[in-house]
């Protein structure tokens, strides 16, 4: 995309209030053409509210929405080139699959021959050709959401909006649908905004993730960065599993966690810091072997097939430290064993005590 082209979607300083509740607080977001961006966050964080504002089903009290540089803030949904797939199936029960997909095309008076070919194209995109004459009660939940995708795609939206479209499906169907969505995105090149509260889904699907917390965007970055370099304790805890520890630094090389000496990357100056440590980056070794690390006792372990999860009770910490070891490495450690938890210095992330990145 050349420099002169405006981004496909721009959200500028959008604020939304419902009564006294601030649902969105000065949110800005810019999405490039062909990007798949997830709006991720816990329920009630404002992600669906933003999606409805982008789709034109609601207007913000402040701020702007621009599509390809054009201000559409107050253009209602039926006049906007965005299309939404809802969480619950919304296949019209009085129409069959063909007429459902043709619904938008008929309203915009697409000629008959083109209409037929576009419906068929959409159906083959979602891999349900031959389903034209089915009604909604003859389809499974996953099939209905595919039809909803086809119905939106048939209108060739500038931005495709997905509001947790797979959250009502069984896990197996859901994983298959994620694969389908990645393929659809590759094949059509459509710009997609995907709302989800499932961090695993967001990590697996997105080009970039906008992490929401209490009506604000906490972090907007590619999945890799969000996972590797969360900007806050919230980001670290919401995306993936994380131990958040409090470290006290008295001077150069004098860092302790729960009173035990540790080494922190970047040699921070004196103060109190939040340290984020992913469980899979922790390694355990018997206390009998000398070395650095936090000494503790294995309080619990859970075998998960490819990995084993440990909870280690460490003196001076109010929560057990979680560690995840590849099953092959974990064979000889059991509950009650005295171990030392270590990690490579660069593998832990140090946040300021006030949650800002270090």
């Amino acid at each position: 995309m050349s420099e002169s082209n405006p981004p496909r979607l721009q959200v500028n300083n959008v604020t939304q209030r419902f009564g006294d509740v601030v649902a969105l607080d000065d949110v800005s977001l810019s999405v490039n053409d062909g990007e798949l961006v997830s709006l991720l966050g816990p329920s009630g964080c404002g992600k669906t509210t933003l999606l409805r504002i982008i789709g034109g089903l609601a207007a913000p009290v402040e701020g702007q929405v621009l599509l390809s540089g054009e201000d559409v803030t107050h253009v209602p949904a039926h006049k906007r080139p965005t299309h939404l797939v809802f969480q619950r199936p919304t296949m019209f029960p009085h129409l069959n699959v063909f007429d459902n997909i043709a619904f938008g095309l008929r309203i915009s008076r697409v000629p008959k021959a083109e209409l037929r070919s576009r419906v068929e194209e959409a159906l083959s995109l979602v891999r349900l050709p031959g389903y034209e004459s089915r009604r909604s009660h003859e389809l499974s939940g996953g099939q209905m959401q595919r039809i909803a995708l086809a119905r939106a795609l048939a209108n060739k939206p500038q931005v495709l909006l997905l509001d947790e479209p797979f959250s009502a499906l069984d896990l197996k169907v859901r994983l298959a649908m994620e694969g389908e969505l990645r393929r659809l995105h590759r094949e059509t090149g459509t710009t997609i905004i995907f709302v989800t509260h499932d961090q695993r889904e967001a990590l697996a699907l997105s080009d970039r993730i906008a992490l929401f917390n209490q009506g604000r965007i906490e972090q907007f970055a590619p999945p890799w960065d969000i996972y590797q370099e969360p900007c806050s304790e919230f980001a670290a805890g919401f995306v993936g599993d994380a131990n958040t520890l409090t470290a006290a630094v008295s001077g150069p090389g004098g860092a302790t966690i729960g009173g035990q000496p540790v080494s922190l990357p970047g040699d921070p100056h004196a103060g109190t810091y939040t340290v984020v440590l992913r469980p899979e980056l922790v390694t355990l070794q018997p206390q009998s072997e000398p070395g650095p690390g936090l000494a503790g006792v294995i309080g619990d372990l859970a075998y998960r097939g490819s990995v084993v999860s440990y909870e280690i009770d460490i003196e001076g910490l109010d929560r057990p430290l979680r560690a995840e070891l590849a099953a092959a490495l974990a064979a000889d450690m059991n509950v009650g064993d005295a171990v030392r938890a270590t990690w490579r210095g660069a593998d832990c992330l140090v946040l300021d005590a006030d949650d800002g990145a270090s």
Partner: protein, 294 residues
């Protein structure tokens, strides 16, 4: 000894439990209707019927001078009242479903409570509303819109249609409110998202999915209003005979029970025909049963 053992000893089938219900239906519905059906084929005396069996009651009823006019009047008033009730009822029911919010239960209760008031009291209320000194005229006069009372409102078709619509409206609202429940707002948002403005949403989503309940509500209130014989007597003008009134006259004034019964069954037959036609129409349009998603 448990119940099934007793049932086996007494040789009752599993259907025995429904016997009280069946008995009720026979005593309160089937027996009167069959009695009346037999009357319609007997020869009438004064306030009595006797053999021989005959078809002449039906012949005479159909060819009687007043019948055609009464049917015309009944159909006209019924269609008007039921039609207005359905249009207004649709507006109220959709408002209740999608916009009323916390007012929903309050308004629903008010509608149900209005049905508790005696039918006669409500008809009299329209005399008070529509009369020369009535509420409507008082308001028009106070606002300076008219200089003398509008006198055509009371004792006219207008008054009858007003009262019949008022009586039919709660039924329509309750039927349609129930019917609207599975039509989740998300369906309408999906339609809007696909380019449908408010009118298109009504035409392409709401009316087709609600076709069967709308048809039922219309026919039910059409039967209720076109067969009404009290309202026209209290609020109607002269010379506006209705079928219900004709039946009543046959039974109470003329004492011709056989012809009254024959006219009753002709009316019943006409209503059944309406139901069959509506059912077929909905079936052809494939709108007879809407299966909402899981």
């Amino acid at each position: 000894m448990n119940a099934s053992v007793i049932a086996r000893r007494l040789r009752f089938g599993p259907g025995a439990a429904s016997a009280p219900g069946a008995l009720g239906l026979i005593v309160f519905f089937l027996a009167p209707v069959v009695t009346l059906l037999v009357y319609s084929f007997l020869t009438s005396g004064r306030f009595s019927v006797a053999r021989p069996f005959t078809l002449s009651n039906y012949d005479a009823t159909i060819s009687a001078a007043g019948t055609a006019g009464a049917v015309r009047n009944s159909v006209l008033l019924g269609v008007l009242a039921a039609g207005v009730a359905v249009v207004v009822g649709l507006a109220i029911a959709s408002w209740l479903r999608y916009y009323a919010g916390r007012l929903q239960n309050v308004v629903l209760s008010m509608i149900i409570i209005s049905m508790f008031a005696s039918y006669l009291v409500r008809i009299y209320a329209f005399r008070i509303l529509l009369g020369d000194e009535g509420a409507v005229n008082t308001v028009l006069d106070t606002l300076g819109i008219v200089s003398e009372p509008v006198s055509w409102m009371l004792f006219s078709r207008f008054a009858v249609v007003c009262a019949l619509t008022h009586i039919a409206l709660p039924y329509v609202v309750l039927i349609l409110y129930g019917a609207f429940r599975p039509l989740d707002p998300a369906y309408l948002e999906a339609a809007q998202d696909l380019g449908a403005g408010a009118l298109t949403r009504w035409v392409r989503v709401i009316l087709p999915t609600m076709a069967a309940p709308i048809g039922s509500a219309f026919l039910m209130t059409f039967v209720l209003t076109s067969a009404d014989y009290v309202t026209p007597q209290f609020l109607g003008g002269t010379g506006q005979q209705m079928v219900g009134l004709l039946i009543q006259t046959n039974f109470t004034v003329a004492g011709d029970w056989a012809r009254g019964a024959a006219l009753s069954f002709l009316t019943l037959g006409a209503y059944l025909l309406c139901y069959v036609i509506m059912g077929l129409g909905l079936r052809i349009a494939k709108l007879n049963t809407i299966r909402w998603g899981t």
